[in-house]
């Protein structure tokens, strides 16, 4: 079983990822493909039980004005070395008014968790086989990084001065 974690420990995964929607939407809390969500915007916008998942190569711009009240957004990392999702995460969190939960899934390994957290992710569906308890230690790899990002709105040179 893949473990879902937040920044303190393992949590329950209550959202089912629907890879492709065929026919009727399943019931329960679901994450639908971004393109499907956009095509069915009128029916889905405002539904608290429908979230969105983005592929790593998604074009995010058309969504930024529409997603402020979505409950969960998930971003896929098809391979951990594909870092496009970091920029997507920052745009979702910093430029859309989105206040929900941002989730990373796919090739989510321990050594990238620190960077993911900095870019605005809240939860992480770890790759099969990884321990959730061990994983949370990796959020604290560096105590006081140089750059500003979602987690620290000011760079070190401003934080230091404060």
């Amino acid at each position: 079983m893949q473990k879902l974690i937040n920044h303190t420990g393992v949590i329950d995964n209550n959202w089912a990822l629907i890879e492709t929607v065929e026919g009727e939407l399943p019931s329960g809390q679901i994450l639908v493909p971004a393109s499907y969500w956009l095509e069915n915007l009128e029916a889905l916008k405002g539904r608290s039980d429908v979230g969105i998942w983005f592929a790593a190569d998604a074009q995010i711009a058309p969504f930024l004005a529409l997603i402020s009240d979505v409950a969960v957004i998930a971003i896929n990392f098809p391979a951990f070395a594909n870092g496009r999702g970091y920029s997507l995460a920052r745009l979702v969190k910093e430029r859309s008014g989105f206040k929900g939960e941002l989730r990373a899934f796919g090739d989510v390994l321990l050594d990238q968790l620190f960077f993911m957290r900095r870019c605005g992710f809240d939860t992480y569906l770890l790759k099969e086989g990884l321990s959730g308890e061990k994983a949370v230690e990796y959020f604290a790899t560096f105590a006081d990084p140089y750059q500003l990002a979602y987690d620290k709105p000011e760079p070190l040179f401003r934080r230091k001065g404060a």
Binding site: F80, N82, R84, R95, F115, R118, C119, L148
Partner: protein, 552 residues
Amino acid sequence: MYKYDDYDQRIVDERVAQFKDQTDRYLAGELTEEQFLPLRLQNGLYVQRYAPMLRVAVPYGLMSSQQVRKLAHIARTYDKGYAHISTRTNVQFNWPELADVPAILAELASVQMHAIQTSGNCIRNTTTDQFAGVVPNELVDPRPYCEIIRQWSTFHPEFAFLPRKFKIAVNSHETDDRVATLLHDIGIKIVRNSADEIGFQVYVGGGLGRTPIVASLVKEFLAEKDLLTYLDAVLRVYNLNGRRDNKYKARIKILVKALGVEAFAKLVDEEWQHLKDGPGTLTDQELERIKGHFTAPDYKVLSASSELKTQTQENKAFSNWYNRNVSEHKVAGYAIVTLTLKKLGTAPGDITDQQLDTVADLADKYSLGEVRGSHEQNLVLADVEESQLFALWQEAKAAGFATPNLGLLTDMICCPGGDFCALANAKSLPVAEALQEKFDNLDYLHDLGEIDLNISGCMNACGHHHIGHIGILGVDKKGAEFYQVSLGGKSGVGANVGKILGPSFARDQMPMIIEKILSIFVDLRIDGERFIDTYDRVGQAPFKERVYAKAN
């Protein structure tokens, strides 16, 4: 030079702990080969043909004598007694054991050094003029900006896994360009605008490799305080739009070309409007703090050394070296000395542990305890009193650093090639050695004048063959090692990519071919012309004709 504060030191110490944990997990089988690969690469650890190679970062080429001694110690203790100065002014060890690497990193951290982001698809070491801060006609010292970029790029959370590697260079000289600025993913030229403010001209999308391209101007004038927000915008546009499906088309130069410079600049500008004047804007306080680490030392008031004049008149060998390897300093009575690492029988850029210790001693004795690396794989002592030059020369000569060939044919750039590098198509070091052997007559070399000869073992162009006046590229022809020659490349202000001469040659033909090219030059040159001047004037045709006419 920049001295770490507690924050900087902590980040480097945390990195040591992080990499130790990663190595332990890899050795315990908890990380697969594939998962460990980018992690070790981001720490400069390659697995080469015969052993791992560790690349240590030397930010913008600057080292203290204490750091150089630490490198000597590492070469002696963990390697086979030598190190290699790379074309990105980093220092490489060719034979460390993987299990020793965490200990080596801990040693480095004790002298404010690291191997962070010296490889992998991330932002690499920023380079600048090896004469920064001491050369005449410099606008301002570029190194504070390099340090600001170093800190910003170190573990940048958004840009740790870019489509491809990313290199930035900064130049601040009004007329010279010793850092090949326009052949970088981002080339930053420091300029002064009409309001007398310091700022930057930003060029994007230059690079060597398979598709050599000179960078395009995307920002005419960027204010000093906007440096990092603008870099964030460029990198974000690249991270979102750069290709990830084909590693040969993944560099930012391909994106700039595909979109067109104007469209690319527009995308960056739109992104930048969101970041501009935000918290990423540099503060006066931070600019002052960083600049405060690079203030000029207390130079003595010296007059030109009369002794020096006599020494150069009386000693031909000293005068050769003085004319070649000593450059003008901005302060009267001081000089910049380049210690050449290009001696017959040693691979360009290679240096032994003992030589490293000697360099550190020379730096302490003659040059305020600092050493710099250059992208031509030499070392520089930047603050030598003219009256000390003769004494320094004697010591440097004894240590093998005073071959008076700076800028001449045998001061070549050469990548490690097939002897060490797993990606190579052909060996490069034996070609360099054969050429050094063939052209060891100093009078002949001086007569030929300045020639950049650069050798790469494959298309990745670590030896910068595209921008050599004479470029040599190792190619694979049905499993055999061949060499392609290009002429007319340039790295300086009018940077230019060389043009291929014609079909490639076997290795044993190379000294003869180069000799032929040189003799054609000697025939055609008009008094005082350098190789590249003659080439630019007559074009490739006479070279092509005569090289192939006789070779066939």
